[in-house]
Structures are given as structure tokens and as C-alpha cells.
């Protein structure tokens, strides 16, 4: 009865002892072995590949595991005033690894504290680097350079603070205008667009006038060309007629003149309402005046 209890007790003690001796270090994690409060060694540190089942001195040593992977810290959204006095809302994240677990453990203990320490550090780096740049550079022209610069600054600060971390990257997620300033941008966009619309309309009007003027020109030219041709045709006709008349009347110019005059009198006077005042001396009244003996 007693012996049975004893065996049970020993077995239980053995289990506890084993559980306190062996521990598993996952590939994703690194373990700091702490000997009575003093961190003494690291298992599966960065740069080395040593995960698996590990042994420690039971009860005397304890194990703290830390993440070995690349992890993120989102910086709090921060209002930054750029060198040209523009306010920008900046949102950034940092990716880091725990590079020196012993140092990390000594300074920060765990990741929650690390987060609390890193966040203000990142924010003040952002303020410092972005505060020296213009808004245009932050938004577009030099974004990647500024990110690199901020990254360097964060690295320097982290190293100075002996945080035991390796800052892998810093990226600005958002760098936008605060809501109040956004309204100004909208206003500018609107006025730009109105300008453009007015310009488009004016261009339309200009094209219209040009087309109309062109058409008018075209009309004038067409008519002028037609007249040119018409005058030439008429001239040719007149010339031809003149040559015909000349050929014909040239046979006896005096008779031609007489004959033509007679025709003209007939045409012009015979069909008009003209009143003729004649003297009886005219040839026509020769007999009228002198009688049959007239000569």
C-alpha cells in the first residue's frame, strides 16, 4: 500500500523533472535560457539553425522564447508638418526581427514592451525626417528616398537604445492630407476642372468659327472662280461674235452702219412710248414739205 504510493510519487516527480528538463524550440522561435534571472545562452539564435528538443538544468534554468521571424509594428497615425508647413497624416509600419535575443531580453523582456518602446521611436523618426522635407517630396517625388532615410534613422536609434532588434524595413503606408486640407485640394481640383471645361468649350467655339470662316472663304473662292470662268466664256463669245460681225459688216462699212442704225431705231423707238419731236426739215418729211417735186 505504502510502496504503491511511493512509486506513484516517484513517477510523478520524474514526469515533472523531465518536463522541466526538456523543452521544444520551434523553428520560428528562439529561446533565451535564464539562469536564476541571468540570461546565459540562446538556442536557435538568428543566423543559426538549431531548433528541436533541448535540455536545460531543471528548476535552476528557465526558458523565455522569442519570435525569430520578421514581424510588424504599425506606428500610430501621426500628423507631421512638412518643411513647407503642410500638415500630413502619416501612417507607417516597420518590419523587424529580434537580432540579439540576449540584449532584447535584457532591455525589453517581451514583445509588448518592445512595441511600446518602438512606436514612439518610429514616430519621432518620422517627424524628424519628414519634417525636413516638402509635402511634394513626401507624397511623390522622394517617397522611397525618405523611407530609406527614416529607416536609417530608426536603425540608428534602435541601435543606440540597445534594443537587440534588426529593423528590416520601414514603409510609409499613407501620407495624406487631413480632412480640412483635403477640402482645399477638392476646391483646387474643381477650379482646375472648371478651367479645363471652359477651355474645351472655347476650343469648340474657336473650331466652329474657323470652320465657318473656312466655309465662307470656300464659298467666295468658288463663286469667284465661277465668275472668272464665266467672264472668260462671255468674252470668248463676244470676241467670236465680233469677228463674225466684222467679217460680215466689213464688206461695206457704210451700208452696214446705215443698216444697223435702221435696225436700232426700229428696235429702240418703235416699241417705246417715247415722244419724238421732229422738224419738218428732216429727210423723212422731204416730200411732206416740198411736195412731189422734191429732190
Amino acid at each position: 500500500m505504502n510502496r504503491r504510493w511511493l512509486i506513484g510519487l516517484i513517477a510523478a516527480a520524474l514526469v515533472v523533472l523531465l518536463a522541466n528538463t526538456f523543452f521544444i524550440v520551434d523553428q520560428r522561435r528562439q529561446a533565451v535560457v535564464v539562469n536564476l534571472g541571468e540570461p546565459v545562452r540562446v538556442i536557435n539564435p538568428p543566423g543559426a539553425y538549431d531548433p528541436g528538443l533541448k535540455v536545460k538544468i531543471p528548476f535552476v534554468e528557465s526558458v523565455v522564447t522569442l519570435d525569430k521571424r520578421n514581424q510588424a509594428i504599425e506606428a500610430r497615425q501621426e500628423e507631421v508638418i512638412s518643411a513647407d508647413q503642410q500638415r500630413l497624416v502619416v501612417d507607417a509600419f516597420v518590419r523587424y526581427r529580434i537580432a540579439d535575443p540576449l540584449e532584447f531580453y535584457r532591455t525589453l523582456r517581451n514583445e509588448t514592451i518592445a512595441r511600446d518602446r518602438l512606436e514612439p521611436l518610429i514616430n519621432s523618426s518620422l517627424r524628424q525626417v519628414l519634417g525636413a522635407a516638402t509635402a511634394g517630396d513626401i507624397i511623390s517625388r522622394q517617397r522611397s528616398e525618405l523611407m530609406a532615410k527614416t529607416l536609417d534613422d530608426v536603425r540608428v536609434r534602435a541601435a543606440a537604445a540597445r534594443l537587440g532588434i534588426d529593423v528590416v524595413d520601414l514603409r510609409i503606408k499613407r501620407a495624406d492630407l487631413p480632412a480640412a486640407n483635403a477640402e482645399a485640394v477638392y476646391q483646387r481640383m474643381r477650379s482646375n476642372l472648371q478651367q479645363k471645361a471652359a477651355q474645351i468649350r472655347a476650343q469648340g467655339e474657336a473650331s466652329k468659327r474657323e470652320i465657318v470662316a473656312n466655309a465662307d472663304k470656300e464659298v467666295t473662292i468658288t463663286l469667284a472662280k465661277a465668275n472668272e470662268q464665266a467672264f472668260a466664256l462671255r468674252g470668248a463669245g463676244d470676241a467670236q461674235a465680233a469677228s463674225l460681225y466684222a467679217a460680215s459688216y466689213g464688206k461695206d462699212p457704210s451700208f452696214a452702219a446705215f443698216y444697223r442704225s435702221m435696225r436700232a431705231y426700229e428696235d429702240s423707238l418703235a416699241h417705246s412710248d417715247a415722244t419724238l419731236v421732229l422738224s419738218p426739215d428732216s429727210d423723212f418729211f422731204k416730200y411732206f414739205k416740198y411736195g412731189p417735186k422734191a429732190k
Binding site: 521544444i24 520578421n70 510588424a72 522611397s144 468658288t222 465661277a226 467670236q240 463674225l244 423707238l269 423723212f284
Partner: protein, 389 residues
């Protein structure tokens, strides 16, 4: 039985991504462990009752026949064996065709298994993490229609305008080991990197080009930038496509944009009006020109033909004239004068010897109907002078 969840994840291994990622994700693990506490209810009295009954049963067994000792150890062995068997059976797990499983032994990478039924040593020794490999994953930034996220979707462009943009990133896990072991929160990393990269790329481009023909360029720049960053983090993720789903000017500016469209239409209609005018007038002018030239051509013909006719008429009369010039001349003259005087008013005045201006009655100049023309002789008022000749 909450403890059972932990120790004994069931014969088919643990469902992917539920229990197995606990060690690397403390906050989530905490969350998941939180629910159990309410489950051990105030079962104190029940448990005591149970113990008491167990004690009674045990005593009855001991007081039983001599088989009791044998019985006890067989029972113990059986129990241990059964537990061990169940424990061993928890090592089976299934990998679907679109998945791969990464097996770790004591936390260290051991092997990769493809689809099918597999066995791993039970939990504390080996673990299997099943990862979707061929499945396309989709990360949406900037919200979907109906679920807008202006914080994510509004961003500044290179010309310091604001664009409202949402996009989807399609990616898949190309290196499951890296995906599991290198980055703590690969899915969140993809989204954060997508947001950051998009803002960087949009910041390098002008609003107009983003809204119009620069879309493809933005997408491809974005894809390569994202891939570069994710590779730098060793996420084991390959970005397959970046698709801009919506790129609009912000709502506040939309009316102005619509006015631009209207302005374009106005301009077009002005041009159309002008073209209509031009077509009409130019064509009319062409018609008028044709009329003018045709009229001239007609005139030419007319004049020539008339000249021919006149010439021929003259020639003929001339031929007769030559035979009797004097008679013909006289006759022509008299005939013409007759014609003329028959039709016109005629006033014959012998002004010779007149001392004062002769004043004719105005009626003499009045155009009268042809019949009274012959009655015109009434003003032979001067005629009386005639006989005086």
C-alpha cells in the same frame, strides 16, 4: 471537455490553421483559450459525488474474488494502451490536392508532404501545418462597392490631387516553408505592403493618367514593387496580379468632371453645327458656281449664234443692196421711219422762225394707249405754222 481539445485533436489531426499555429501566435491563442473558462460550471458537488461513487466501486472490486489483483493491472494496461493507441492515431491527416503540408519534428522543419493521406508522429513530437498552395488568394484594398473604406481608398497623386481608388491583389503561396517560418503575419504583411506600394506608385503618377490610360502601367509598377518588397521579407508569396477595380475622382469633384464631359459634348456640337453650315454653304456655292459658268457658256453660245444669224441676215440683204443701192437704202429708211413713227408719239415742229420757245402741252408727252397715238395729231397746234412754210 476543453482539455481534450488540446491534448487530443482527434484522429484526423488538427484542422489546418486552428490548433497548430498557436505557438507562434500568442494573442490569437489567448483569444481562443478564453472561451473555455465558463464551461467548468459549479460542478463541485457533482465531482465529489462522483469520487465517492468511484471509491465505493473500488472497494467492492477489492473485496471481490482473488481475480481482483490481475483484474486491476489488466485494466490499467488496457487503459494505458487505449490512450496510447488513440494518441498514435491522432497522427493521421489529409492533404488536399491544392495544399501542401510542412511537417516539423520538435519544431524543426522535417519534410514537405503533397496531397493524400499522411502520417506524422503524434503531437508533441511532430506537427503538420497544411498550407493552401495553388489556391489564389485575394486581398482587397480600398473597399468594395457597398463597403467603401475612404481611409484606404483616398490617396494623393503625384500632382497633389486626390483619387479614390480600390484594387485587388491576387497572390499565391509559392514557398510554403518561407510562408510559415520567415514572416510572422504573412497575410497582414501582404495587405500592408499592398497599401504602401499602391500609395507610392500613385504618388508617382498624375491623376489624369491614373484615371485614363495609365492604369495598366500603375498596375504593373505596383505588382513589381510589391513583389520586390515581399521578397525582401522572404514571405514566400508570389503576386500574380494587381487589378485596379475602381479609380475615380473623389465624390466631391465628380460634378466638375461631369461638366468636363458636358463641355466636350458642347464643343463637339458647336463643331457639328459649324460643319453643317459649311457643308450647306459650300455645296450651295458649288451649285451657284455651276449656274454662273453654265449661264456664261449659254451666253457665249447665244452671242455666237446671234452673230452668225445677224451676219447671215446682213449678208443676204447686202447681196440685194448691191444690185440697187440707192433704192434699197431709201426703202429701208422710209420703212424704218414708218415703223418708228407709227408706234411713237410724234410731234412735228417747224421751229424755223420761231422767236419764243414753243411750249408743248404736257399731254403730248403723256404715254397714251396706242389708239389715241393716232389721235395725237390734235396738237397740230403748231401745224398751222406748217402752211406758213
Amino acid at each position: 471537455m476543453p482539455w481534450n481539445d488540446n491534448a487530443n485533436p482527434g484522429p484526423w489531426g488538427s484542422p489546418p490553421g486552428s490548433n497548430d499555429d498557436r505557438p507562434d501566435d500568442p494573442p490569437r491563442a489567448e483569444q481562443r483559450r478564453r472561451p473555455p473558462p465558463p464551461s467548468p460550471p459549479p460542478s463541485g458537488p457533482d465531482f465529489g459525488e462522483y469520487l465517492r461513487r468511484l471509491r465505493v466501486e473500488w472497494d467492492r472490486l477489492r473485496r471481490g474474488r482473488r481475480l481482483r489483483r490481475l483484474n486491476g493491472s489488466v485494466l490499467a494496461l488496457g487503459v494505458v494502451g487505449a490512450v496510447a493507441a488513440i494518441w498514435a492515431l491522432t497522427g493521421f491527416y489529409i492533404v488536399q490536392p491544392y495544399q501542401e503540408a510542412i511537417v516539423t519534428r520538435f519544431g524543426a522543419y522535417d519534410r514537405t508532404e503533397l496531397s493524400g493521406l499522411h502520417y506524422r508522429l503524434p503531437t508533441p513530437i511532430e506537427q503538420a501545418e497544411v498550407v493552401d498552395v495553388t489556391n489564389e488568394q485575394k486581398t482587397i484594398v480600398g473597399g468594395a462597392p457597398g463597403a467603401e473604406a475612404p481611409d484606404e481608398s483616398l490617396m494623393l497623386t503625384g500632382d497633389e490631387n486626390i483619387v479614390d481608388l480600390s484594387f485587388a491583389v491576387q497572390w499565391h503561396i509559392s514557398d510554403p516553408a518561407a510562408y510559415l517560418f520567415q514572416v510572422r503575419d504573412p497575410d497582414d504583411a501582404v495587405k500592408a505592403v499592398a497599401e504602401s506600394a499602391m500609395r507610392e506608385v500613385v504618388g508617382r503618377n498624375d491623376l489624369t493618367s491614373i484615371l485614363t490610360n495609365g492604369r495598366g502601367q500603375v498596375q504593373s509598377q505596383m505588382q513589381s514593387l510589391m513583389q520586390r518588397i515581399l521578397d525582401r521579407y522572404h514571405t514566400g508569396v508570389t503576386v500574380d496580379a494587381v487589378q485596379i477595380q475602381n479609380a475615380n475622382p473623389p465624390a466631391e469633384v465628380v460634378p466638375a468632371y461631369q461638366d468636363i464631359a458636358r463641355a466636350g459634348q458642347d464643343a463637339q456640337s458647336a463643331i457639328n453645327d459649324a460643319n453643317t453650315y459649311a457643308n450647306k454653304n459650300v455645296n450651295e456655292a458649288v451649285g451657284t458656281a455651276a449656274k454662273i459658268t453654265q449661264a456664261a457658256a449659254g451666253y457665249q453660245e447665244q452671242v455666237v449664234h446671234e452673230a452668225n444669224g445677224e451676219a447671215s441676215r446682213f449678208n443676204q440683204i447686202y447681196a440685194q443692196y448691191r444690185r440697187a443701192p440707192a433704192v434699197t437704202r431709201e426703202r429701208l429708211y422710209i420703212q424704218t421711219m414708218q415703223d418708228v413713227l407709227t408706234h411713237a408719239h410724234t410731234v412735228v415742229i417747224d421751229a424755223k422762225g420761231a422767236t419764243a420757245p414753243i411750249i408743248l402741252p404736257p399731254q403730248a408727252f403723256q404715254p397714251t394707249a396706242p389708239p389715241p397715238a393716232t389721235a395725237a395729231p390734235p396738237p397740230p397746234a403748231p401745224q398751222p405754222q406748217g402752211p406758213s412754210l
